[in-house]
């Protein structure tokens, strides 16, 4: 609980504010608005800042929440408390529908799509008869607990801020968990995440729904705060403003949403009340200043105010060390197995007219280090991608433990016990080494999003982190365990990738140029580690350019050239093979 002390202090301070006797009521209204805006922005933090999915349409989800309660309480006389779950449900279901369509869009299509359906929904709200068209619905009953009716801004204040603090806690819990790591990995593209069993479309849909439910909650509160709902606050402009709030506060930080909401709401208030005095002008001067400030802010502080503020704090947050005595169940050892772990039989990959991999066959036996070498463009990485399911083979078969794989998803391959590293490092740079490595153990944990939010995942989580910490220790990076992965040298990041792959408890490790960027001593350490892994029963298939490294380490070498296997054998034989020498050095002089 000590970890949550700042939150508790914040909650206590917020609870005390209405009791300050000289507090102007108007400030309470502002605080109410800040809370409502912060809730929506919090969803955006998760969706946009953490998950990398930009949505301009969040205001529409507020609309779903607000109109659900508005209709049900006025037309059907339901109690507001009864409409709360329904409002959240309606927003959530709307998110499922829109999310299934939109979250699979990559890059800029997503924000564009959200603008479009955000506008469409706004016009729908303003045209539908049972939603009161442009006039909306008024006469919504206030929230009430027994005789206490939350009519004035000072009482509904508590409902709003309890919601904000609770949601912030739940969101922080979610981010600091197995599911949270999956969400945080989304921003770096789907290939690395999927290589460790994360179902990226599902993770994207999850954050999309989560953000929509938070917006729906805000809309529900708004409807009972204003006691009316009309389309204007749920239009495109509002959707843009919520994104603005998140960016101002710091789109990657849960509390950035509260800070951003405070800054934007107060700023707007000041602009609206003082600008006309300064300029005697009519019109929306505040939108002009607002727009200009937004551009200025992006130019000087694109990551927002929260990280800038926390950097000023004199003390740093301490991280808890995982308890390494906890263990996860392991895969049955394949060390004593006869027959190959991996068999590649006439695998072929064509990109249009280019044959990247030309009917290549080889296999990997238990307790064996096999090196795949060849000049640039020989098809080594493509072969890796075929094995790991990133690419589908044009023809040929790939079998694991004697079972033929039929164009499996990357998530399926890792379940079979094959895990990999990447030629171009794919870590999440702003996550710590420990968190990055724990992604490798994703499939060995079971806690879902809800369990994580309510902290029911701690036993599961402790085991995952323990496993990750053990693997970091094993590869010799224990001193960097809490450093952001992006702060390590490229060579060290490659080693972190190995630790991540090891966390998946593989029987076969696929390493794509693991020694690139390492210094001589580090290479020796890596070679020692790989031998140790082999001796403990694991097999390794590696692509490497450093011949000294490969020849001293591999049990067997497979040579590719222009997509074709030209040689295979023990290192000694490969070194003197005339075909190989020709491929590397050109025609014999």
């Amino acid at each position: 609980m000590l970890q949550r002390l700042p939150v508790m202090l914040f909650a206590a301070a917020m609870a005390a504010i209405p009791f300050i006797p000289t507090m102007p009521p108007f400030w309470i209204v502002l605080l109410d608005n800040i809370g409502l805006s912060a809730l929506v922005a919090m969803g955006l933090v998760l969706l946009t800042g953490v998950g990398g999915l930009t949505s301009f349409g969040q205001a529409a989800f507020c609309g779903f929440g607000a109109y659900t309660t508005a209709v049900l309480t006025t037309a059907y006389g339901l109690s507001p408390w009864l409409t709360l779950p329904l409002a959240l449900l309606v927003s959530g279901i709307a998110a499922v529908g829109l999310g299934l369509i939109t979250v699979r869009l990559s890059g800029h299509y997503l924000p564009l799509g959200t603008i479009a359906w955000g506008l469409g929904l706004f016009y729908l709200f303003s045209k539908l008869g049972f939603l009161g068209r442009n006039d909306g619905i008024s006469g919504i009953p206030p929230l009430a607990i027994g005789q206490l009716k939350m009519i004035d801004p000072g009482t509904i204040y508590f409902a709003i801020w309890i919601a904000v603090v609770l949601c912030a806690l739940l969101t922080m819990n979610l981010l600091d968990s197995r599911t949270g790591r999956a969400i945080r990995a989304l921003r770096r593209g789907h290939v690395a995440a999927e290589a460790f069993g994360i179902h990226t479309p599902r993770a994207k849909l999850l954050v999309f729904i989560y953000a929509a439910v938070l917006a729906g909650l805000s809309g529900w509160l708004y409807a009972h705060f204003q006691r009316a709902a009309n389309p204007t606050p749920f239009g495109a402009q509002a959707g843009i403003e919520y994104l603005f709030v998140a960016v101002v506060g710091g789109a990657g930080y849960v509390w950035g949403s509260v800070l951003g909401a405070a800054v934007v709401v107060v700023l707007k208030e000041i602009l609206q009340s003082y600008l006309p005095l300064l300029f005697h002008g009519e019109g929306q001067l505040e939108t002009i200043v607002f727009g200009i400030l937004l551009v200025v802010l992006l130019q000087i502080a694109p990551t927002g105010m929260w990280p800038w503020l926390t950097a000023l704090l004199p003390f740093k947050r301490k991280r808890k060390r995982p308890d390494v005595s906890l263990t996860l169940p392991r895969r049955p050892s394949t060390a004593a197995r006869d027959g190959a772990l991996l068999q590649i039989d006439n695998a072929r990959k064509q990109f249009g007219g280019v044959i990247a991999v030309n009917d290549v066959s080889f296999d990997v036996l238990p307790r064996e280090i096999v090196a795949l070498i060849g000049p640039n463009g020989a098809g080594k990485s493509t072969t890796f991608n075929l094995i790991t399911g990133v690419l589908a083979a044009t023809s040929g078969t790939i079998s694991v433990l004697g079972k033929k794989l039929d164009n499996p998803a990357p998530q399926e391959v890792t379940k079979l016990g094959i895990s990999r590293t990447f030629q171009h490092v794919k870590l999440v740079p702003d996550m710590t080494v420990l968190e990055n490595v724990a992604i490798g153990a994703h499939l060995r944990g079971h806690a879902g999003a809800l369990a994580s939010m309510f902290r029911l995942d701690r036993a599961d989580e402790a085991k995952l982190l323990a496993e990750a910490a053990r693997q970091i220790e094993r590869v010799g990076l224990a001193e960097h365990i809490d450093a952001p992965a992006g702060s390590l040298s490229l060579g060290q990041q490659r080693i972190v990738e190995i630790a991540r792959a090891l966390s998946a408890d593989p029987m076969l490790l696929l390493l794509d140029e693991p020694a690139a960027g390492l210094r001589h001593l580090e290479k020796q350490q890596l070679a020692r580690l790989l031998r140790e892994l082999r001796n403990s029963g694991m097999s390794v298939l590696l692509v490497e350019h450093d011949m000294g490294f490969v020849m001293g380490l591999a049990d067997r070498v497979v040579v590719l050239d222009f997509g074709t296997r030209i040689a295979e054998g023990p290192p000694e034989a490969i070194k003197t093979n005339p075909e190989v020498i020709r491929a590397y050095l050109g025609a014999v002089a």
Partner: protein, 355 residues
């Protein structure tokens, strides 16, 4: 158009009429869609303020024709001065006279000259062509300076950051629009009052002008990108910024040209429609967004697909305003959903991380 019970009945005449209306609007959306694709391809900015270029062009033209000086002329000067300061700051370590002179001429003298001309000409009637030229000059310089001020300093930022900056520009420009033109709508004089009838349709000179201009601009863009050095430089920037820089293309200049073209295209569209429909300071946003729908359908990459999609948007809009005028906007904007759906179902390519 509707029988006694209010249900609309479609006959051939009405259908042709709706088709004509749709094609006229679609042509405008096509222009805007093309501009959006152009700007996105070259700068990765999703140009939300495109709609403001439309309103600025239209209302500047309308204001000029009514004999007054539009506020946009002053805005261009102010933005030019800011742009010049940015230029000075960016070049503070290597201030060369030639560079300074060039920047001063474009950023300060040019908009000042246009403003002086505007004041000089105001109050007396002139041929429409003069108003059009002035409007295009004013809006074009605003577009150019907008890139210099808002986007050039963050040209390497992610698409998201650029998008939010674009939203900021939209808010500011729309606010200025209200300040300059007021909340009331305006109409401008038609380019031509000629009209002829091919039964049952009546063609006005204005609608012919819309078609002709759209076709001419599309052909012009095609020639520009296919056959000029600058056009090729822009295409190179679109494909690979770093590569373009390495072969000596100034990507900042490419961005400025893209914005200049986009703002001029926007202003042309505005001038073309302001004689047909009343435009308000905030109408542009919606018109721009419809161009945007077309651009999305075109996948933000293909000019011909965007143009076809824009015609489709215009026609759908015309027919839905006939059948369900209340839900016109809903229908137009949800048109995107099936397109997005198709794109989702098509297998996504192996993506590499972007940032």
């Amino acid at each position: 158009m509707a029988d006694s019970r209010g249900a609309p009945v479609l006959n051939t005449t009405i259908m042709l009429f709706l088709l004509q209306d749709g094609i006229t609007n679609g042509a405008i959306y096509a222009l805007l869609g093309l501009a959006l694709v152009l700007v996105f391809a070259v700068t990765r900015v999703i140009l939300i303020p495109q709609g403001e270029f439309v309103t600025y062009g239209a209302l500047t033209y309308a204001t000029l024709s009514s004999g007054q000086v539009p506020g946009t002329a002053r805005l261009a000067v102010a933005m030019g001065i800011v742009a010049f300061v940015f230029e000075l700051f960016a070049a503070r370590r290597s201030l060369r006279l030639a560079l300074l002179g060039r920047a001063f001429a474009i950023d300060v003298l040019l908009p000042l000259g246009v403003m002086a001309l505007t004041y000089e000409l105001a109050g007396r009637p002139h041929p429409i062509a003069v108003y059009i030229a002035l409007s295009l000059a004013i809006v074009g310089t605003i577009g150019l300076f907008l890139y210099r001020i808002a986007f050039q300093p963050i040209a390497h930022a992610s698409v998201l950051v650029l998008l939010i900056a674009a939203v900021g520009c939209h808010l500011a420009l729309q606010g200025f629009g209200l300040l300059f033109f007021g909340a009331e709508g305006q109409r401008g004089p038609a380019l031509s009052n000629a009209a002829f009838t091919i039964e049952p349709l009546r063609f006005t000179g204005q609608s012919i002008a819309v078609y002709a201009t759209t076709l001419a601009l599309i052909a012009g863009l095609w020639l520009f990108f296919g056959f000029t050095l600058y056009g090729k430089a822009l295409r190179a920037t679109a494909v690979n910024r770093l590569g373009a820089r390495l072969v000596g293309i100034r990507t900042a200049l490419s961005g400025q040209i893209a914005f200049l073209l986009a703002s001029v295209i926007g202003a042309v569209s505005g001038i073309l429609i302001v004689p047909i429909t009343t435009l308000y300071y905030d109408t542009g946003f919606l018109i721009g967004l419809k161009g945007f729908v077309a651009a999305i359908i075109g996948g933000l990459v293909s000019y011909p697909l965007t143009a076809i999609a824009a015609l489709l948007v215009g026609i759908v809009e015309a027919f839905s305003s006939f059948y369900a005028s209340n839900f016109k906007e809903v229908i137009v904007f949800t048109l995107i959903i099936p397109v997005l759906l198709l794109r989702s179902l098509a297998a996504p390519a192996v993506e590499e991380e972007k940032d």
